[in-house]
Symmetry: C5
Subunit: 381 residues, 5 copies
């Protein structure tokens, strides 16, 4: 032990010297005798519960919903009708549509039903509102540009979110794989694997602003009670995990379980994790500029309110279905932008974070399998 | 052998210590006496079958279809007519068009043939549907923006898929080239080359959700039976290949067939493979947001249904050909987006994955040629 | 001391040889006896004031305004009305709108109220201005394209600013974390942490062209008086901080508090800081090309002035509300572009730099906590 | 020699051991006595011919055409007229325009000249085709969006091609510069330089599918006959060059003419070459999706055929010039997309590959100058 | 000297062996006795003139014009009027506008003034040109798309130019800072600094195709006569500077003034310089494809010529002001694209290269200050 401490101070950082710090609770546990005693349940129980969960959830590689959608696409015709007629998953701002419907109905009732001689059937005189279709058409282009550009920008946010989340997934897998290559089947390897599995859970909760209770439940399958407590009371939970991993890596270097070259590789993997987290966080944390969203919505409202005014003279009662259809189409475009602006929510058009996290966990568990199998071989020897 | 094992434990990871693990079946075979006995067929037969296949398939550098198209472009005028009149390869959503044709025919038959006095020839009265062209024109811009933006986004997905697949190709070539530079003509080099050739096949099957049988047949030309079995029963097949390659690299380092510098290079190549696979996978696995696809399609349907209503008063029987032509043009735009949204399918507008895989295999086989030629020289000495 | 100087000259740069240079005031202080005497207040007081500030400001992870907005989004309906009716935060170029309103009012008063027989009610003759709606409609598309493209480009500047600022945040965190890993709880680590906390403050002041007094007040919480004086009189303040950090790193290498590998890591982190600063600086320092802004604005002005002329014949008194609404919608689009072109200003639609800086400081203080906790453990030993 | 072989096997790859392999013909030549005997002409003759060529071709730094265009721009007014009236270099799909002209002429002759009472002058009855302008206007927007988006995408391909080709240029220069820094004036340096000069020639021929004869002629100025034969019969010529370079680098390491650090740098430069080649190759090898090109062209054809139908009633004989002008403008947009989709062709709007290659060669020859000058100095000693 | 030469040949490249080569004139000067004798003026004079220049020019951190514009923006209302009414800096293609004005005037004079009965007041007959507004409106959208897309692409070129120029600036600063860290206050450091200050000047002259005389004058403040002569007669001046820097770095390694790690860092900085230069060069050297510019301009010309024809029937004499205003707006859009396509020119909308170069020089001089201050400290010892 003393020799290890010395060699440690010789070529690694000084953090391992203290080794009992509050932040590194986990890691000091290993330093006692190279083994771990968990408060709640044993290491074997932990990993078993992980594998059970994987057999239930991720045996099919997750992403069920996406795959279901993808499969639909391959049978082209049914896909066609489903996307066109499916009611549940489309963007449908129900309340604004209802209000708009009432407004149109009332307006047409008044103009056509009550005062037709003023608005519709004017007997040689100029009807009120007659020429409103000209200015409405004039600004229509501007509003549509604004709406579709906004949709386009929101899609690029959605895709960027998807890309960074996938990279986060890969980076965690890389960390576990590299740990296995560097240290073999080792308690420290398992610790890294457990923190790597916990990371997407914690990031998900951080981004969705989930309640502490839900996160605590999720973590209980991978972390022990003391670790969870430390996670819950840290200032910035995702960073806490990264700090823990770095602690473990340095511990491994100190006990010569890992060469310096692998340490450099793992440090860079951990720094990549932070980078991808930043990519995810800036999308979740920076909505479109308020002025953009608010002005394009106000413009749309003014336009929609003007539409029945501009067509009532020509279409009379037909104004109601026509306006409502137009309202549905335009509000729907706005709805798409709204749905996909923040891709980390919980509705159907958002990224299925739960499935991705599960798939990610499944990938990591394959690595754990690798460790187990090597261990078995060793056991047979 | 014992010395090698010791030196191995000194500066490489511990995985090589066990060396008989289930995951590393392949690699332990080499460790016996530096040579390999395959279950099914000998190494020479394997490589010969590869070269035969290459002579048949990739002697012309693959990509036949793309080249055919490209050559057409150079003879400009024929290209012009071909792209304009070619019937087979264009986007043509046949069923929706048929239904739309029936709808238009029926509608015009009713309005013009049966009740002309209501809709068309109204004798001084306002015709029903007369003024519908105004609201249809009003929203036309919005629908076209939405459609073309979607096509644009789909094209960027298609291109991104192409880029990442090409990078995957290069990364596999790099791995083989670097293995040859690092280890020369060696059984481990051949093993890396075989796994590198298998990788695109496995990724292709993973992405297309091909059946196991087809993949098994493809792999039989490069892998031996035991390896194939391991591939088939792994949780995540592409990752399995990467793990195998890392095993071989570490084995090479342990037996001092490879310097540490080359090991670092190959580790980074393998990690690049994973990155490019992620790029391919996220395009195959994340279709456009459902709300986007579904709303733009519904909007288009509503618009198409309204078109004959808005022109029947002016065009009467001409409404039928005009509506059908408009329907063809608009449904075709939608069809392009549909075709290229997932570039990894099997129809003509998708990337010709088979050809790319074949071309990739051809490139790798040139490396194998290099090995062979060096070997021959040695044999002549 | 002499020995240290020699070892220093052996493998590190020569800057540390002189060691008393004006630029490196801070760093020579440490070299005396490994401890620091500050002019104004002690190290402990400095860090305590930091932590107090953090408890007040960043205990809630900052970004209050963004989070408030984000939370609104999750309660969809209220969000809808807020973005539509909120008056305070939208883009509203008040003065131009007022002038436009007066112009429209005056114009309509003259044409409809005073000379109706010339402009509106022309008794069989061609009215003056009658056909102006045709050319106005002709160029409407061009103006809208120009406006929305400009808005789009401005959004991409806004987002790029956000991305680079976030990366700056991460890079400072990385420097502090890596310093802790490399040197443990050490005076040099604290110095790096203090400069890292000062960096975003200085960049913010540099970019916003804040007065010196404000910056000086902000810095007083992290830097001592002598350091602040040096910062204030340097030619390029952000670069001054980077030079200071490099000095400290080299000092650490000379006194063997840091290995060469960590030095290489920290040098690369510091060079990243410069890169991200450049990203921020080029957005703050390069407005859109003058010709672009000015021509699109002039085009818009001409168009807006022509609108009432083109509709007054048809709409008469209605021209006033219609023109004003159109003016609001179009000026608003221009206003969005104006608001978000430079995302580092102080109004509501700009990035909340203060909150981001505070959140960044909070993240860094967690690192300081880590140091403290290790120190406490050591103290208990 | 024996000692060199041994040291070689000690720290470099095993490829150099064989050293006489078919692939490495060139490189074994140097290993005999450190000098080279070329089949055709001496080293001096080779480099002299290179310099002569450079004095003729690249003394003016190449890119003549681009510079001519750029200079035109600076004299703004003449540039204006040249771009507007220049006949030679614009996009002008001549055959389709001729056919369109004939179609319009025939159609107008029939409708206006032969059957005016049906189509034009209908005496109170509804003219046939009268209302066709409404549906044509309806879909005009969609077609224009599709066309200009396609042009936009093609431009981005053109620019990406330009970027990657420039990077390829830089990477070859880097290889030569680094070789000189690493090895000085040396036969191996000259060999690397010659292959680096050959690389752009070979890539150009590969991408343009030039005939073998042309390539052979071009290569004769830089490579000797044996090398050319090997290039011509390799499966993948660009990769063949990269393999040759790697061989030379390894040879240099074996004979200790190069340190390991420079070897690592050169290996990374060579791998960059491959990356940039991939960037160029994927643009040359992946035309736009067939469905995209073909549908947008068909849509355009339908629209153009419908234009005279929709305006003949109003414009009568004027239909001919108007339709032809419209046809020219629209076919021209299509023509731009067609011209720049593949930027590596031979017409005026493509990248002037020949000039870029020549400029690239000129830059490399400056490096050769450097070698020569050092050699002269040595000779004077 | 002999010992240095030997150690040099041992671990660095061989270039330093010759040491008197034409290319490395500068660097051999240092190798004599570690000091330099300049032809024209002493080192002190050189640096003093630099600092004087900096006090005059860059004391205010350069970028005066940009800052003036930026400050205007902060006082929103004045900014509004300035951008709208400012006459000097907007895009205004004067000659084309004049010609267009004459054309419109002549055309209206003929049609309305001379032959009104044919074109305007047709007494029951169809007027010639009456219906031309329909086809003009038909293609208006296409032309506007083309124009604004081109403006958009040109803006992205402008921004990319800005980004790369800023990166070039940073890379030169990095080289100087790293030299100081690596070598301290040293003649070689000063030489690197002087070449780094010369680099932006030379790149600017290269890109703007400035005359040799102007460049020579600019360089006289940083380089000595012999160096300037070498720069002027090199084939590729920017590359010449990079070669000189590499020479100095290698010299420093040979004389053990720099460790190998710093050499690797500086080599990578120099290679970055080349990369950013390439980014700048490809924008300056590749104008938009000729067919794009020329067709969009011709299309615009045809459209502008057709505008008065299409509105003269309705607007009569009003055609003149209306056409001229339309012409101004549309030609102005074209003018923006023209102005910003090449951002490295000399007019107001281009990047203010002179100011950026001056600011860059100012940043570098701060580094020189640092050297000086250290030197002073040493002098005081």
């Amino acid at each position: 032990m003393a020799a290890a401490a010395m060699s440690c101070s010789a070529f690694a950082g000084p953090l391992c010297k203290s080794g009992v710090g509050r932040t590194c609770t986990l890691y000091t546990k290993y330093s006692e005798d190279g083994d771990v005693v968990y408060e709640g349940l044993s290491e074997g129980q932990l990993l078993n519960s992980l594998i059970d969960q994987a057999d239930l959830d991720c045996g099919d590689t997750g992403d069920r919903r996406l795959r279901a959608y993808r499969e639909l696409r391959d049978t082209a015709s049914s896909h066609w009708w489903q996307t066109t007629f499916d009611l549940k998953h489309r963007s449908l701002p129900a309340l604004p549509m209802l209000i708009y419907f009432l407004y149109v109905g009332l307006f047409v009732f008044v103009t056509v039903g009550v005062y037709p001689h003023i608005f519709v059937d004017c007997r040689g005189q100029k009807c009120l509102l007659y020429n409103l279709s000209v200015p409405v058409q004039l600004v229509t282009g501007a509003m549509f540009f604004l709406l579709t550009f906004r949709t386009d920008l929101c899609y690029s946010r959605w895709w960027e979110g998807r890309v960074h989340w996938k990279l986060l997934d890969i980076a965690t897998t890389n960390i576990v794989l590299n740990s296995i290559m560097a240290m073999g089947n080792n308690n420290l390897t398992k610790a890294v694997a457990r923190w790597a599995i916990a990371y997407p859970l914690i990031v998900k909760a951080h981004i969705r602003k989930d309640g502490d209770k839900k996160l605590r439940d999720g973590l209980r399958k991978v972390l022990v009670e003391g670790e969870i407590v430390n996670v819950m009371r840290s200032r910035h939970r995702p960073n806490h995990v990264l700090t823990q991993m770095t602690c473990i890596v340095q511990q491994a270097v100190d006990t010569q379980a890992m060469t310096l070259m692998w340490m450099s590789q793992l440090t860079s993997d951990i720094s990549n994790l932070q980078l991808y987290f930043a990519g995810v966080d800036r999308i979740a944390g920076s909505p479109m500029p308020f002025a953009y969203t608010s002005h394009s919505r106000t413009f749309m409202m003014i336009w929609l309110l003007a539409v029945p005014l501009s067509i009532v003279h020509d279409l009379e009662w037909l104004t109601i279905p026509v306006s409502v259809l137009i309202g549905y189409c335009i509000l729907g475009i706005e709805g798409i932008a709204d749905e996909i602006e923040n891709p980390f929510g919980k509705d159907i058009n958002d990224l299925d974070l739960d499935a991705i996290v599960r798939s990610c966990t499944g990938g990591l568990l394959q690595c754990v399998d690798t460790i187990e199998s090597i261990e078995d071989d060793v056991a047979l020897w």
